[in-house]
Amino acid sequence: MRLGYVWAVITKEGRDLLANRLLLGAVVFPALIFAAIPTGIVAFIEVNDLDPDQLGQIQSYLSQFPGLDPKLAAQGFIVLNFMAYFLLIPAMVPMAIATQSVIGEKTARSLEPQLATPMEVSELLVGKAISSATPAVLATWAVFLLYGFVNGAIADPALTALIFNDVWRVAMISLVPLICLLSVLLGIIVSSRVSDARAAQQIGGFIVIPIIAVAIAGFFSGQASFTMDQVLIGDLVVALLIGVALVAGNWIFEREAILTRLG
């Protein structure tokens, strides 16, 4: 693996992304929207008196926030419960970038001139994977930090500490990049089989189902947010899936196969 080639691909893909306003919007807006909804609820609770009767089902979760008054505990529940969305950003955004990148190359027939250079297919794919995953990881981290500080500023610094807890720090550092990588690999694999970016994203969109399923199951089993065990098991499962995707991707992206099937 020669880093010069990988860096050349990353630079090119970065320029491509910056020039593609629609795709750039797809990186930034979902993250902001996912963060804005709970923040809006926290602000709503902050400016309105909290009637414990209005809390309904949420009330049963408040005991998970000892030491916080009911209003802050309710806000704490809201910010933590919505944080599962922070795992949807790395699942969805890199796939959008990767599918656009591969299908764009197919449409423009620009894979062949790249493969005619001394660059190896693996260097091209690693460059594409990094350049597709990095914006999503950075967007997720940036919005995570923003989310923590803005909610702390709106309500109470205790919310910032709650958001930046050990579980989510580990999730941000390990699970987010891993999900990004899996999403990219799936995006590339799916893109090799279809000729339309939206179709690829729809097929690849199934990746979000397990994340939502775990979040919903956790909610109904009385969890306000993911546990450390769930995050670590998630790391392991996603890492295994990445291994499977790499084997499949290596088979699909053999130089000759790209030219005869995709080029």
């Binding site: 010069g4 080639y5 050349a8 630079t11 090119k12 320029r15 491509d16 020039a19 593609n20 423009a108 027939r109 620009s110 894979l111 062949e112 001139p113 790249q114 493969l115 005619a116 250079t117 001394p118 660059m119 190896e120 130089r255 000759e256 030219l259 005869t260 080029g263």
Partner: protein, 318 residues
């Protein structure tokens, strides 16, 4: 130098290229002519180290295809059938990217980009995104991309398609200078006129090479050229047939519509001697014209009509 020996490529049950053998010397332009699906693109892809041959072998500047394909790709420039540019990037950034992939860096890269944008007449458009370019402009950038790293071996697939006559001539002239600089160049084209003007030798292929020769010899077909000699004066053309039969370089002669038709092997070498002998014998010559078949006639005789099989090969190989 390109040396291909019994190269073959199969896609499943379909043979796209079969028993292809030819050499292209340093400082030579070799044209590959053939109908759609004849295997030209597959041949170039094999020789450029993009796909592996199913049979045979090839050496490019002494490097063996297969084990040394990466090194071969480094010294090879390929103009692909489709320009394949990155639309969101400017012409300069497109070339910069490929320059880096070919190992150019820093000032060397910037100089190469500027130089080849100038060669193809695109300096003024260097900082515009190629997505807004016309087909011809895209082709020019793709040509610059193929030349950027000054490759020793160059494959050009339809180099002047989509170019206006003036730009096409500029590119042809530049390719000729590359030949003069000792590069080995393979040109795939459907443009017979271009092949005749540009190529030192032409290979007509349909899965395999049907014929390889210089354009002039291909036109002559059987190896001789018919030279038409137009005469005026009292003496009838038939009266010179006896003289012509005695000339050692004349391989046949006849008369038609008041003119002599003389078959010679090398018109450029033989015509002066032929004219001298006829004038000495009293002929009053007003014109000497080489009557050769057109390359198109030769091509059509060899490949015939494009059949269904070719179309299938094309789909599979593309």
């Amino acid at each position: 130098m390109i040396e291909a020996s019994s190269l073959g490529k199969r896609f499943g049950t379909l043979t796209a290229v079969d028993e292809l053998s030819f050499t292209v010397g340093d400082g030579e332009i070799f044209g590959l002519l053939g109908p759609n699906g004849a295997g030209k693109t597959t041949t170039v892809r094999m020789l450029a180290g993009l796909i592996a041959p199913s049979a045979g072998s090839a050496r490019i500047n002494g490097l063996e295809l297969g084990p040394q394909s990466q090194a071969i790709r480094a010294l090879t420039g390929v103009l692909t059938e489709s320009p394949g540019l990155h639309d969101k990037l400017t012409a300069r950034h497109n070339l910069g990217y490929y320059g880096r992939l070919y190992g150019l860096r820093g000032a060397t890269l910037r100089r190469a980009v500027d130089r080849y944008l100038g060669v193809v007449g695109m300096s003024a458009e260097a900082d515009r995104r190629v997505g807004g370019f016309s087909k011809g402009m895209r082709q020019k950038v793709a040509i610059a991309r193929a030349l950027l790293h000054e490759p020793e071996v160059l494959y050009l697939d339809e180099p002047t398609s989509a170019l206006d006559p003036s730009a096409a001539k500029t590119i042809r002239d530049f390719v000729a200078t590359l030949r003069d600089a000792g590069r080995s160049i393979v040109v795939c084209t459907h443009n017979l006129d271009e092949a005749e003007r540009l190529c030192d030798r032409i290979g007509i292929m349909r899965s395999t090479l049907l014929k390889v020769d210089t354009p002039a010899r291909l036109r002559r077909g059987n190896g001789t050229a018919a030279v038409r000699v137009d005469l005026v004066g009292a003496r009838r053309p038939e009266s010179f047939l006896g003289l012509l039969a005695e000339l050692p370089f004349v391989e046949g002669a006849r008369t038609l519509d008041g003119s002599l038709y003389v078959e010679v092997a090398d018109p450029r070498g033989d015509n002066p001697e032929l004219v001298r002998a006829l004038v000495v014998a009293g002929a009053r010559i007003v014109g000497v014209v080489e009557e050769a078949a057109t390359l198109e006639q030769v091509y059509l005789d060899l490949v015939g009509e494009t059949g269904q099989r070719d179309a299938r090969v094309g789909e599979e190989a593309a």
